[in-house]
Symmetry: C2
Subunit: 210 residues, 2 copies
Amino acid sequence: MARTRSEDRLDRAMDVFWQRGYYDTSIEELMSRTGLHRAAVYGSFRSKRGLFEATLRRYQEKVVAAFVAPIARPDATLADIDQFFRGIHDAAAQSDKRWGCLMINTASEVSPHIRSVERIVSLYLANLRGFFHRASVNARTRGDFRSETDVDQVADYLTGAVLGLWTLGRCPVPALALSHYLQGVRGYLDSLRPGAKRRGPSGSRADRAS
Amino acid sequence: MARTRSEDRLDRAMDVFWQRGYYDTSIEELMSRTGLHRAAVYGSFRSKRGLFEATLRRYQEKVVAAFVAPIARPDATLADIDQFFRGIHDAAAQSDKRWGCLMINTASEVSPHIRSVERIVSLYLANLRGFFHRASVNARTRGDFRSETDVDQVADYLTGAVLGLWTLGRCPVPALALSHYLQGVRGYLDSLRPGAKRRGPSGSRADRAS
């Protein structure tokens, strides 16, 4: 499907914000990289912030939707959670550009400061958490997770694990660190299986180790 | 110990960068918040970047050193790793300021763009990983971890988990999400104990679940 000229320009603006972040991107750079005139930026989007928020929506439709596809289905379960994390890992590790995820870069850089951006990020995180929660309920029902699994805990942990993996992908670390991180998340998921030895409330043994 | 006037000003500059990030902080704001004159910024630090790097060094000495104390000892082991993560969790969760960790905010926002900052962040991450590695070797030797535990994998996972926890602390999520995340990391650590059922290469069961 051919992109329209305005979609093409929005994609280029998205790439600039994705690579450089919101605050390091100037209107001048946006104009030179997208071919948009200053009047078009202010006329169509009112401000740099308006254009940024339009690129976040574009990113949701174009990038996030593809990543979350495995866990967005109503019948998603443990294997889909696993596929989702492998997908993020492969995307983060194959690139030497260290762009990370635009939404998660924005969560850290911009969402504490701009309320309208915080709302977009909050919705993104709540959706992600909701997908993990539903998939965890399914996994528990199917017997992939133990019957006493706390699906709220799992959903919050996995949401944080997504932040960890993408932030790691933006950091100066070797690619092996990313696959080791993925192994850790998978080890956690494995520990929820019925076959894994039950250890009481998580962390209780570490308390006694001191 | 009384702070000198210049340390006090450096601390205030650190707080500005910590809260707002590097790129959203102007020289004008630094001057008004610290009492430094423009000539002093350029005379003492050569540039905004020079001042920023001085605040990163100050942050290392003052904040990072206190957080890593439990895992920095040569005989640190599993209980110390656990104490370290509880310390981060408590700091991130008690604050509603959502400042996160200056070093990790910087890793994501600045390190892909400024080589001298990347070097500071790389060293920080390498030190953190080194502490986790040594503590994991100690834990394996003491029998807190299974004898076949891959300490390189553990060290990389835990480094990424620090990024995840602090990034979560800068995001618009409820405090409960942070404690759920901590529980997940502790569950992972528990799964490395000799008493936990060995499951072969981590993640292998998830592969077969599809």
